[in-house]
């Protein structure tokens, strides 16, 4: 059965299918038909937004990438949650370089989409400074 975008107070245009990637967590301010994504990564090319895999009609989520210094590991939040980043979008980041504070860097592998995340052999620390194809804001 079809869903009418705009039936709720949340985003009503294709914005219901778009978001920037969060950096270490969600960071947003949501009002009716007005979302401010306070920080994160936008795509350098195009309109800056990632596609998501399902309409966000009842609440606004934001997938985010995390560098966990305890592992250290690097992973996408939606590897363990219902937050949905379009798989094609997620795959595009494989092979891109992640730069961390302290000049450390590593290359993203497909493991970052798994439950345990990508094991990273670097001593870098949060926050993530840059990711290939993306622009921090």
């Amino acid at each position: 059965m079809g869903v009418v975008i705009g039936d709720t107070t949340y985003v009503a245009t294709w914005g219901a299918l778009r978001f920037p990637l969060g950096n270490g967590g969600e960071d947003k301010t949501v009002d009716d038909h007005n979302i401010v994504w306070n920080s994160g990564f936008k795509t350098t090319e195009g309109n800056g937004f990632f596609r998501c895999d399902a309409l966000q009609l009842s609440a606004i989520y934001q997938p985010y990438v995390v560098f966990d210094t305890a592992g250290p590991t690097f992973y996408l939040s939606n590897a363990t949650t219902a937050i949905v980043l379009d798989q094609r979008e997620a795959d595009k980041l494989v092979g891109e370089t992640v730069s961390l504070t302290g000049a450390a860097s590593f290359t993203i592998t497909s493991d970052y989409l798994t439950l345990s995340g990508q094991s990273v052999s670097t001593s870098g620390t949060d926050p993530i400074l840059s990711i290939g194809l993306l622009t921090a804001f």
Partner: protein, 187 residues
């Protein structure tokens, strides 16, 4: 005697006298409205040397916009005695070179609730129909949708190209300190 411009009659004045033609006072479909936000009844007011126009009522996120009528912001769907009494506005300014006038729907977020658009009809953030002689760009304060463009010629004549043909849903999306972007979907 002064005669104000209006819908349903034409007024012509010369040194020999004046003529008031009311033969089309109650036309069957005076504006031939086919969709919301349609620019209609573009008529030249000889006395005021200005183009007048109306915009058929429509909505942005279920909010009916306002338009300037005699320096008062009036809802597009105004009624009088139970009948439509849509406001009449002045089509101005026209660019001196291109002779174009852009007709925009302007809206901003609510200063209190943050909702887009504002529902405070006394605020400039409330959806309003405005005219401009230049193309306008979005800002953090306002998003603009180009409803139509009017082009003035000699004669006088004026043609209108309509771009938006329905009511709208709109979202304001902002990335950090970048200028907010406004996305619209016609409904």
């Amino acid at each position: 005697m002064k005669i104000q411009p209006g819908i349903g009659y034409t007024f012509d004045s010369s040194a020999k006298g004046f003529t008031l033609d009311t033969s089309e006072q109650f036309p069957d479909n005076p504006a031939q409205v086919t969709h919301p936000f349609q620019v209609i009844n573009v008529t030249y007011d000889v006395a005021g040397s200005a183009w007048l126009f109306q915009v058929a009522p429509g909505t942005l996120n279920n909010v009916v916009p306002q338009i300037d009528e005699d320096s008062v912001w009036v809802l597009l769907d105004r009624t009088s005695g139970g009948l439509p009494n849509w406001p009449i506005s002045v089509l101005t300014p026209f660019d001196a070179t291109t002779h174009e006038c852009f007709i925009y729907l302007r809206a901003g977020k609510d200063a209190t609730s943050g909702a887009f658009p504002s529902t405070d009809d006394t605020s400039t953030d409330y959806p309003r129909i405005i005219c401009s002689d230049t193309a306008l760009s979005d800002t953090d304060t306002y998003g603009y949708v180009l409803l139509a463009k009017a082009t003035e010629g000699t004669g006088p004549v004026c043609s209108v190209v309509q771009y938006v043909t329905g009511s709208l849903w709109g979202d304001r999306l902002k990335l950090g300190s970048l200028t907010a972007k406004y996305y619209y979907a016609r409904i």
